[in-house]
Symmetry: D3
């Protein structure tokens, strides 16, 4: 699994959560997670979570985005677990970068008090699974009250790169753990 932090800003509109966008944009073929900073405004036609279609909209002026595509193990149920674990990892990274901040995880959402800090979705394409996770970097542009990295005193790029590294490290350790365990038998 590869990682890449893209220094260029990219306006996320949902079309990035497609099969092979990472290949097309970054030239990486295979399991990868990429991060970048940019505004967010998801077209209704690109909204994957049906619960969001009639919602207030998915938008913010400045976010740190992560797009994770997996070909090797592309099951949707697994992708949702990876998304939840990614959310928990984000809390852990924030705890290291801003020990005084109280960040709460509720499923795939992060909250600081009553401010929503993140958005996320896990889905599938015909050939892969896909996860989008994004954290507000600064105020502005959101249809709901938000929290953001700036008010936590966290640098967006440092956070982005730290989370990429944590995801890749944990996936590597998961691969080893899966290969080191032996099966168990039947009770009585």
């Amino acid at each position: 699994m590869r990682q890449l932090w893209i220094d260029e800003r990219i306006a996320y509109d949902g079309s990035q959560l497609r099969a092979h966008w990472v290949l097309d944009r970054c030239g990486i073929a295979g399991d990868a997670i990429v991060g970048f900073r940019g505004p967010c405004s998801v077209h209704a036609s690109e909204i994957a979570d049906l619960a969001d279609i009639d919602g207030p909209g998915i938008a913010a002026d400045d976010m740190v985005h992560f797009v994770w595509e997996s070909f090797t193990a592309a099951d949707l149920l697994l992708a949702v677990h990876r998304q939840r674990l990614l959310s928990a990892q984000a809390v852990e990274v924030l705890h290291e970068l801003a020990p005084a901040a109280i960040v709460r995880r509720d499923g795939d959402d992060l909250w600081v008090g009553t401010g929503k800090l993140s958005i996320s979705i896990a889905t599938v394409s015909p050939v892969s699974s896909l996860v989008h996770f994004a954290v507000n970097a600064a105020a502005g542009g959101a249809p709901v009250p938000i929290a953001h990295l700036a008010e936590l005193g966290v640098d967006a790029a440092i956070f982005g790169k730290a989370l990429l590294q944590r995801v890749v490290d944990e996936q590597a350790s998961i691969t080893v753990a899966r290969a080191k365990v032996r099966a168990k038998g039947e009770w009585r």
Copy 2:
């Protein structure tokens, strides 16, 4: 998925991490997680993690144990992800019960400073996946330096029941999330 806190103490020796132990012990047929308190001493023949076989041994005098068996989705890679998420959830529960404590997750292990707070393994039987996760409740009996709930001021049963509830709630929300997402297409 069902949950059960067993009030009776059970000495965990590794044989509980078998297919249908939950059915045999608790009469629950199907996906379930159960929790109980008791000492831990895993027989070498029952050690699932090959990395542990030549290690210092797996033992402690007083732990809160969780045994999770899944039949519906029994893939080992998924089980390892569930195990990691379970570890992250344990940190979250501890953060609520003991806000001042600094608990660090490293893969499936929890640490408080240099004291190891937990042990865990994820494996498969021929018909299910299995996760064992256990947190030290009090001092004593371990072959390595440990941390424990008592020194964090956390009641073992309260912690155990809270973590059971969190796991079951999050699995329910994962099931709904998986069923509410639509697929995405192909780039260009």
Copy 3:
């Protein structure tokens, strides 16, 4: 797995056999089977069975419809088995409601003499498996000779609700059976 009998009549045109139609129409997220009464006229563009595209058309004036969507186990081969079992269950329900009737199952089709009593298809969406099964409630509108519930003296809604219940009950018993069986070894 949830069930719902929709009292309102719905004109089935094949577009109901889509991912998340049950969620959109009934607000149910997750594995579910719903039943309703209404006419049937499947647009060619919505016909899933390629054997039917050049056939006489799929239509009838009054049918009892069932739409079953599964996310948890969405394999197509499994869906076809579920469809066949559903057809067999329909015969069993009819045998209870109209003991004198001779209903014959041929694959996923039910017949009364030379009258075709039912239509059915099992297919997949990118995120789920889907089964449509429908039984003629009254005469009229079909391009082939049909049998119908009215001539068997069977009330459409009673039949519909009874079959929903039977499907849900049997799926529950299948889940338990799958979780109660232990694996077997190798011969010699």
Copy 4:
């Protein structure tokens, strides 16, 4: 998928429900269902259904047995569906051979009044799925009240061969159905 009726009587003790027993006994490599007549007495160590271990025992003096091993699609959940469909097919065959008989299916069990007509289990080996289904051919030897083919006026071998044929025919039609269906898209 192949079928074979074995004319020789075989005493079923549960050890036949093993991987490759059909290969070893009949020389058939691959997906197959075989039928034979013989007494039944399942050793406790061979009982696959944990619900039966502390039960009255699994025995009868004269049964028609079916052993079905699948390598191509060896999932346990699918095997349980095949087992249920097999039970329904048995009712259909009996309805043809003994139209006056009232045979009721409850899950994988067949009943005639309060007499249990059949036993069945579906399980897995490390390389295949396995189904045993057996119908009492004559009275005697059972620990519970039974019904049997003789009292229904049904010849055991005729029944056995007819059910083998029905299973093989339906599996063939399922394979074709799965290959003739096209996928459906997403709602709105």
Copy 5:
């Protein structure tokens, strides 16, 4: 798995690599490989390999084509392995038909010196896996230097039929091999 050599020439434009094209064109429902001769000119919209989209184009005046669709085991990773094995089988057939020729396999491509002898792709549809493999039969029409069967002294139809037979024979032997092997246990 069935095979068919189509005597009529068919102009391959990529649209043949679709779910159910074999059913539509040849009336075969289920796993099958078909072969035919014809020119090749793949529309950009039909190119499956993203590495080819900005390439020199996929075209030649006269090729022997193979289209292989699998429903029974439709996993993409398996399909790529089948494609590679198919390429190796083509070399083996050519070695028999033209022993003096030096044909080199590089992944899914065959080469004779610096001339490209073949093209290939493996992909999936929503219900099946699909492989296209084609070998140049004669010179002309290609955007890159090619080798062809004519210069090797190999008759296109003889080659085509021989490769069809080899694929079908090896898949049959694979099915038997998979059903004849027993599982192995755990080290120490």
Copy 6:
């Protein structure tokens, strides 16, 4: 996927084809193929291919062995395809090292004239798939007429290392190919 040529000779008796033998022997956790030289004498209890149990025995004095364990994609049908491709790759390597030799592949067996050059089996453990492939390095010890590398003028270690490299390279290219292909739609 990792590779390792073990310089030390190892007597292959079949017990090496176990889950985690590579981990235990070489300290490699995860998908890997290892090669070594040594005699071969497979205990009947370790024979995985049931067709071999009553055969002449599996033995030779000097072979080049390959043991390949896969955790990431552990399906048995895939493993048999990998085994067949491995056999084809061995022919390709031999063709490079000994261009004048005529080596014929028949399924997973290699032949030189009437001499059997290789043995092979693909199987599964509860947590992985396993392939053993071995080529005779020198004469002696076999219960059937054999061919061997020495008479082809091929150095055993050079062959062994070249085949390891080819397998790893092709698996890497397969991973990329699987990640670069887009899905295809439905015919008409």
